[in-house]
């Protein structure tokens, strides 16, 4: 099994909720569901990994979708966001077109992001995350505010990308998410925050 990520937190690492203990693994081309009660520390652990990316995720290129809306200063539109991303990275993104069509954002590309609804804002966030060429995508509550049609597109898109060897980590409460995940990272709390990796 080709693990792209394998981190042992046996010594315990301090998060906001307390020390985390356990082993976290991620296989190339798999989707992993992080399960645990609300407020147990799943998002905190994700934030911790992001802040310590160089130490715990040094072998992989990651993109993150964190909780909360995309806040933009000024009247920048989704089209501006795509253009600025392309200008910065020096390449155009064919995947952005597929995502725009799948998320049905064509008519909202020229609307300032701050005037978009909660669901549309979430879609633009997803677009900005998924259009990048990464090997691991961390998606925290990606389906928030989305309708069933767009959730289906998202999950189908994830399945398609996995065939290219891309891995996904989902912090998700949608009931269908567990149906296509190959592994689960279970969060539990006794004296400390425990994580347990399990292949499904």
């Amino acid at each position: 099994m080709n693990y792209v990520v394998e981190n042992h937190f046996q010594e315990g690492v301090q998060l906001i909720h307390g020390k985390i203990h356990g082993i976290w693994k991620l296989v190339q081309g798999e989707s992993q569901l992080w399960q645990g009660a609300n407020g147990i520390g799943k998002s905190s652990f994700l934030r911790f990994l992001r802040e310590n990316e160089k130490k715990y995720l040094k072998e992989v290129v990651c993109s993150y979708l964190m909780q909360g809306p995309l806040h933009v200063l000024g009247d920048y539109t989704p089209r501006d966001l795509i253009k600025h991303t392309e200008d910065y990275l020096g390449k155009s993104f064919e995947s952005s077109q597929e995502l725009i069509e799948g998320f049905k954002l064509q008519s909202r590309l020229d609307t300032p992001i701050r005037f978009l609804s909660g669901g549309e804002n979430q879609l633009v966030k997803l677009l900005s995350c998924l259009m990048l060429s990464s090997s691991v995508y961390f998606l925290d509550e990606a389906t928030t505010h989305l309708d069933e049609e767009r959730i289906k597109f998202l999950f189908d898109y994830i399945q398609k990308r996995k065939k290219d060897g891309v891995s996904f980590v989902l912090i998700e409460h949608h009931p269908h998410a567990s149906l296509f995940c190959e592994s689960v990272l279970k969060f539990s709390k006794r004296n400390r925050l425990e994580i347990e990796y399990e292949r499904v």
Partner: protein, 287 residues
Amino acid sequence: MNEYELIMRFLCSFFSGALLCLGGSFCQVYTQNEMASPSTLGFSGLVVLQVIIFHLLKTIFHWSFPLEYGALVLSFLFLVVLLLLTKSKRMSFTKMKEHLILLGICFNLLVGSFFSILYFLFLTKALDFPSYLWFGSFKFVNLEMTIISGFFCLLALLYASRFSSKMQLLVYGAEYCQNLKMEPLKFVGPVICLSYVSMAITTCFFGVFSFLGLLFPHLLRHFSFFSRNLKRELTIGPLVSGSIFAIIDQFTYFFPLNGAELPVGMITSILGCSLFIVLLLKKKTNS
């Protein structure tokens, strides 16, 4: 004023307008808060405090060193000490909460009260006090001030033009920048320093121009040429703002009221405060 002094006055007002506009844009981009500016974040109060402290020291120890330069040096020293003290602390690049803006404004009011009390005490002792400071003007400019403000204006513009493409990404937030492997924290130091220095130079030399750093970026973004283009806002924007500010100042010089020149800082205070109220009301309506 003779022709030479008028030219220096024009240049000083131009550089000040450009510096404050740039400082305001930097504050807003970095904090992702359209109400952020060197004034609303408390920088103006901080610099006025340095001026008061230096004036007190100057009075107590009978120093002959000019107030404007002494206060500027003190402001720079304060900045260096602050940078050294906060070097090891991480500043998280998240949308600043409105209460920090409120804190900045309250700090300005506190310094203002302190300023008024000291002014009263100095008056009772018939001692000199820089009361002109509170509403800035360009009545007393000289060549050194013109050169120093011009130099820092050029430095700030060079920095802005060098990094405006990367700073463009900051408008979308920290998470977006980190996904592109662009570390927003590396802009913290230079951006905050440049905003603070722009406020320090204009306040120590010419007095307080409240809310100018808030007013100009918003004014620029009303025009499609600057809206949604941070590079233009940070490079051409300050030149336009400086020109507008210089024209307003020339207007106050050539059209005095009952023989007295209205300090241009008074005009900017009224305009800036009005804009702040409009922004707050607009924010409430939008939410």
